[in-house]
């Protein structure tokens, strides 16, 4: 049996206001590798934690450009270049008739890129977590806010980190080991 390594110190919270304050103070104490698990998004908590704004909108925008470009190319090339289709003498390609398909493909590709970008940035699916056997952690998707400061963090120290979470109002502050 290899020696167990500390993974994280967890603390349960119930009140969103206390939680907000805790997040701010943890960030101010210099911790960077920590997370808070909640059953629903708590408004402003990501800001209090110092979470950087995600790049997802850029990924979505890239999807939009991709869809737009493909749509225009598809219609312009097939109808005006490869097999020039004469429908009642109308222009081989015009923006007016191209709008519906262009719009739809732009929306479609934006949505697909957003979907893939979301899970990619979250690094999901990840069907394992070192915390997954902890009862409190499991209740984070039910009714508990769980603060977790990871041992990998530079400032981590078992006593100081445990004391910090306790002082901030955390219940059942415990060490998770792997």
């Amino acid at each position: 049996m290899s020696q167990t390594q500390p993974v994280a110190v967890l603390g349960n919270f119930k009140d969103p206001n206390v939680l907000m304050n805790a997040a701010k103070r943890i960030r101010e104490s210099g911790y960077q590798d920590f997370d808070i698990y909640t059953p629903y998004p708590v408004h402003g908590l990501d800001k209090a934690m110092g979470v950087k704004r995600t790049i997802l909108p850029y990924i979505s925008f890239a999807g939009g450009l991709f869809g737009f470009a493909n749509a225009i190319f598809l219609m312009a090339w097939t109808g005006a270049e490869h097999y020039k289709l004469n429908i009642g003498g109308k222009p081989l390609f015009s923006l007016q008739f191209a709008i519906p398909v262009t719009f739809e493909l732009t929306v479609l590709c934006t949505a697909i890129f957003t979907f893939l970008g979301l899970w990619g940035l979250c690094k999901l699916p990840t069907w394992y977590s070192p915390l997954q056997n902890d009862a409190g952690f499991k209740s984070a998707v039910d009714d508990t806010f769980v603060v977790s400061i990871f041992a990998k963090d530079q400032r981590f120290s078992l006593e100081a980190t445990t004391k910090l979470i306790k002082d901030l109002g955390g219940d059942d502050v415990r060490l998770i080991e792997a």
């Binding site: 698990y37 708590v42 949505a111 979907f115 999901l124």
Partner: protein
């Protein structure tokens, strides 16, 4: 920016801090708002209530209902097979009415889908918190409605196995491509996009709730399946941050889809030259009608669901009040469109146009026209009265009327215009055969079967979203704590 941005404007009685009222004088007192979740449940209560529904052992009533609808579905599928095997001749389509029940049903089902997306996306952008109790089932309804709708364009080609070849631009040795000027091709892109985006949006909304189910169910199989589909979601705030932005982007994408998809469907008719079809009012008219019929279908489903599954504290009378207001509003828009169509037909001086409209009201299909008008224009007027908006039997009956009326609207538009066009020599009556009727009944069966299966396995109410709108679930924003 997130789902509950307006929490600090939600004037439930001030909470926390020993119940003392805010020290800051408020220049404006907002009226007290009805609670959206009754009975003050805790977060765990919500989890329990909604997660336990899929775990209920299917009782006899459920199984009988499922059996009835599944039988309808199978019968419909059999008739579809018969149509494909024998040919479109088994339908009642003729010359001049080349589109009858088939396209009526297509537009009917697609229209129904739009309410789900409106609730999911548009009400989200308008920060209407009441949407959280109904958006999951409404969006599921959209997916099933679109699946039912797609059957018809494929089937009505007569040779559906080549429909892919005809409709999609794929490279081939004949160097043939589709005609992108045609609304029928636009339909292909619009409806596929609509289905895909709705599915992605619905699934994204589901993931946190599937994680809740994963941690709630006791059976290994349940944990495994919910675990797989919840992708390992932990509730990490770092993930929620990205999630909320993705949700907002998808809501923003779905919103124009509500408007554009049914606009494209309406263009199937509007871009023709047929009197009664060739009118610019069709896009907004169809979109309003779609929302109208969709909300009626959501109403039908939810009145039953909340009764059977005991969800009255989540799907409250306030929710129904709001939905009925939307039904009234869109019903008035549809009524306006009827009046405007008729007026413009007369005002235009075009004899063909005016004769079509007079024929609608007094010709061979007058019975269909007047069913449509009474169901769509006259009956929703009852919703001016708050008591009626909150009366369950009334709204259930009304929702059925609206569904019937909206089906007849599509039927009137399609069949009456076709049967009575320019040349009297071309005129001809159309009636459906038993095969067409059976296929439609079959799609109703498919729709309700899918919905029952959905209710059995998937959390019917958006658990995380309902939790996030509780008055006590978000931090207060005062800086003087």
């Amino acid at each position: 920016m997130n789902v509950t941005d307006t929490i600090n404007q939600d004037k439930t009685p001030p909470h926390g801090h020993s119940g003392a009222p805010s020290i800051m004088p408020s220049a404006f007192e907002e009226p007290f708002r009805e609670p959206l979740v009754l009975g003050n449940p805790t977060l765990h209560d919500i989890t329990e209530k909604i997660s336990s529904i899929p775990l209920l052992t299917p009782n006899l009533k459920f199984l009988i209902t499922l059996f009835v609808f599944a039988s309808m579905a199978l019968w419909g599928l059999a008739c579809m097979g018969y149509t494909i095997a024998t040919g479109i001749g088994v339908w009642g389509l003729n010359n001049p009415v080349g589109w009858g029940w088939d396209i009526t049903n297509f537009v009917f089902w697609i229209g129904i889908g739009h309410a789900g997306t409106l609730i999911s996306a548009i009400l989200f952008l308008f920060r209407q918190k009441w949407r959280t109790a109904i958006n999951r089932s409404a969006e599921a309804m959209t997916l099933f409605a679109v699946m039912c709708a797609l059957i018809f364009p494929l089937l009505h080609t007569g040779r559906p196995w080549v429909a892919f070849y005809w409709l999609t631009p794929y490279p081939n040795q004949m160097q043939m491509w589709v005609n992108f000027r045609s609304p029928l091709v636009w339909d292909v892109f619009a409806v596929s996009t609509y289905f895909t985006v709705s599915l992605l949006f619905w699934y994204i909304g589901l993931v946190p709730d599937l994680a809740t189910m994963r941690n709630y169910v006791k059976s290994k199989l349940g944990q495994t399946l919910y675990g797989i589909f919840s992708l390992g979601w932990t509730g990490s705030m770092r993930h929620w941050h990205i999630y909320e932005i993705a949700y907002m982007i998808l809501a923003g994408l779905s919103t124009p889809l509500v408007l554009s998809v049914h606009t494209v469907v309406s263009m199937d008719f509007a871009t023709s030259v047929l009197p009664g079809w060739h009118t610019t009012i069709f896009p907004p008219y169809f979109v309003a009608g779609a929302i109208f019929s969709g909300f009626a279908m959501v109403m039908t489903l939810l009145v039953i669901a909340r009764e059977v599954l005991d969800l009255k504290q989540y799907i409250t009378l306030k929710h129904f009040d709001n939905m009925n207001k939307i039904i009234l509003a869109t019903g008035m828009m549809v009524g306006y469109a009827y009046a405007m169509e008729f007026f413009i037909a007369q005002y235009s001086g075009n004899p063909y146009e005016s004769s079509v409209f007079i024929n609608r009201a007094s010709g061979d299909y007058a019975w269909a026209y007047w069913i449509m008008v009474s169901c769509n224009v006259i009956s929703p007027q009852i919703y001016w009265f708050k008591k009626m908006r909150r009366n369950i039997p009334v709204m259930f009956v009304m929702s059925i009327f609206v569904n019937i009326g909206m089906w007849f609207e599509r039927f009137t538009i399609i069949s009456t215009s076709l049967h009575h066009d320019y040349l009297p020599a071309s005129w001809g009556y159309y009636s459906p055969t038993w095969v067409e009727i059976s296929i439609f009944v079959g799609t109703i069966g498919i729709f309700f079967t899918l919905f029952l299966i959905f209710a059995k396995f998937v959390p019917m109410i958006a658990i995380a979203e309902v939790k996030s709108i509780l008055p006590t679930s978000q931090p207060t924003h005062h800086h003087d704590h």
